[in-house]
């Protein structure tokens, strides 16, 4: 039972990284992107391939995964940023599916639908972070989440966060205020992609195998749900949303009712939660982060 709970926490951490990326793209930049699963897959496969075929250590594959995902973020970002709202959603959705299909069919590199097995475990100064010994792995994941949170929070509270908010609120006015909107939209995409790539890397060394079936469209949708549930434009909320969604999706196993409740049940619950949220609390559980200026101390968080 405790082991199972640790598993949920680890998955929450991995997904929280993706949700943080989604939050900078959707919550701050206001762009409805549905391809976190694509970046997640690129990160996972980068680590898997570099570690198994070239024998790189996990710590070397990690930046490679982030950079490669960021590169794809740039690649998808530049041409699609002329699109808005649902059009952007469809284009990014297409990208996510393309990634999965390429992984499924590029047998020589990705081993097709069989995936890549026997990914070496990461070790740190001789200490092997064995995913079966979940405590050590959990600590590592939490560290990653904390670092990502601090970095992204700092970005969001600087000129960049404000510029992204301006782009979200009104692109024409933002341009007329001297903000290069294309640049900031691409930044958001690249940052969001790179952190999803890191999440992918962690996923690869946690399950020690990667298969294309893990990186479906549903993953992107789930990540979006996490951000919406917690509250857009708030990194704490994104992490909270991730944890809640993860708890719900493992609810049948957690309560030992998996024989009674069919696995499709969690999709019903997701839908229900989103509908209820949209009606009663469209801003999410915590709402957008609000900053108050003028006092000597800065108050953070709060609702609007």
């Amino acid at each position: 039972m405790i082991n199972f709970f640790l598993l949920i926490l680890i998955y929450s951490g991995i997904y929280a990284l993706m949700a943080i990326g989604q939050n900078i793209i959707t919550g701050y930049g206001g762009m409805l992107s549905l391809c976190q699963a694509g970046f997640f897959a690129i990160g996972s496969y980068t680590t898997a391939i570099l570690a198994t075929k070239l024998g790189w250590s996990f710590w070397a594959t990690l930046p490679a995964a982030a950079i490669l995902s960021a590169l794809f973020g740039l690649l998808i970002g530049l041409p699609t940023l002329r699109l808005k709202g649902d059009y952007l959603a469809i284009a990014t959705l297409g990208f996510g599916e393309i990634v999965r299909n390429v992984l499924n069919n590029w047998d020589s590199l990705t081993n097709g639908p069989m995936g890549i097995q026997k990914i070496p475990m990461p070790d740190l100064f001789g200490f092997v972070i064995n995913p079966y010994r979940k405590y050590a792995f959990l600590v590592m994941v939490i560290l990653f989440v904390v670092i990502a949170y601090l970095l992204f929070q700092r970005l969001a509270r600087s000129r960049m966060g404000r510029a992204l908010a301006a782009v979200r609120e009104d692109e024409i006015a933002a341009q007329s205020m001297g903000i290069n909107i294309t640049k900031y939209k691409v930044y958001a995409f690249v940052l969001g992609a790179s952190v999803a790539g890191i999440a992918g890397s962690l996923q690869a060394v946690f399950s020690l195998s990667v298969t294309p079936g893990t990186y479906t469209f549903m993953v992107s949708v789930m990540v979006l749900c996490m951000v919406v549930l917690g509250g857009m434009g708030n990194f704490k909320a994104a992490i909270l949303g991730t944890f809640i969604i993860q708890l719900i999706s493992y609810f049948p196993q957690l309560t030992g009712l998996s024989s009674v409740i069919p696995p499709q049940f969690k999709q019903i619950l997701f839908g229900l939660i989103l509908v209820v949220m949209m009606i009663w609390r469209p801003q999410g559980l915590l709402g957008r982060e609000e900053r108050t200026y003028g006092g000597s101390t800065e108050r953070k968080g709060g609702k609007r």
Binding site: L155, A165, A174, S176, M177, Y293
Partner: protein, 259 residues
């Protein structure tokens, strides 16, 4: 001294020529009015100068530099700020945040290094930068006597204040030239009176102002020079007194007198 000049500026949308070979000059230090009946092409002219639209033909010169076809953000950085006919505030951000966005590129000490480098910078550095941006923005709010609204959401301000906030935001970019697109639209007489005082104060700061306006009382009162557009073409140019007595201007507004 001519601060801004357009040379035979033309903007056609398919067959419709919204702005037709307009030579428009803005004298430095003055308040220039741009008037004309609805659909005369005033806003189109503004958009073509400020980079939100690209002219089909013709040139735009600012400080004798050709800026035709520059993107809007570059033009803003060169010192041309603007407001909009239909208010375009960042509605869900607070009043002071709106003005702080106007300070965006003014504090970009490391614009070349990119934001990621900034993320890694020390907490102290970031704190100081934010404080600097805030203080400047705050002083602009004081200029407009809006200090007490600073943490309100922009969308919750009364209408007249929203218009003023848009001007404050534009001024925060420290422009040489300020375009106001119908600043008095929807204002009551008292608010218009207040606005006129503000526009004069802005001119006294050494900022050149160009405004589109339908309120003739305002235009005739504060403009030093007026340009009239009609059907996309320049109809007349002169002092308020000259424009008031120009027969073709009267005709454009009121129609021809019957013989």
């Amino acid at each position: 001294m001519i601060l801004l000049e357009t040379e035979a500026l033309t903007r056609a949308y398919g067959g419709v020529v919204a702005v037709n070979k307009v030579d428009f000059q803005v004298e430095s230090g003055l308040i220039t009015g741009l008037i004309g009946p609805n659909g005369a092409g005033k806003t189109t002219l503004f958009n073509n100068i400020t980079g939100l639209d690209t002219p089909s033909k013709g040139r735009v010169f600012f400080n004798n530099k050709d800026i035709t076809g520059f993107p809007a953000h570059k033009i803003c950085r060169m010192g041309i700020a603007r407001t909009f006919q239909n208010i375009r505030l960042f509605k869900d951000l607070s009043v002071v945040e709106n003005v702080m966005i106007g300070r965006h590129f003014k504090t970009g000490r490391d614009e070349t290094k990119g934001r990621f480098v900034n993320a890694l910078k020390s907490y102290v550095y970031l704190k100081r930068e934010e404080q600097e941006i805030y203080e400047k923005a705050d002083s602009w709010l004081d200029f407009f006597e809006m200090g007490q609204f600073k943490n309100e959401l922009a969308k919750n301000l009364p209408y007249g204040k929203q218009r003023e906030l848009e001007i404050a935001r534009a001024l925060a970019t420290e422009p040489q030239l300020l375009f106001l697109d119908e600043p008095a639209a929807g204002m009551n007489p008292q608010e218009t009176e207040h606005l006129m005082a503000i526009i004069r104060k802005i001119r006294d700061l050494g900022i050149t102002v160009v405004l589109i306006e339908h309120d003739m009382k305002l235009v005739m009162n504060i403009c030093d020079t007026i340009t009239v557009l009609n059907y996309g073409q320049k109809l007349a140019q002169g002092t308020p007194r000259e424009i008031k007595h120009n027969s073709s201007v009267i005709e454009a507004y009121l129609g021809k007198e019957e013989e």
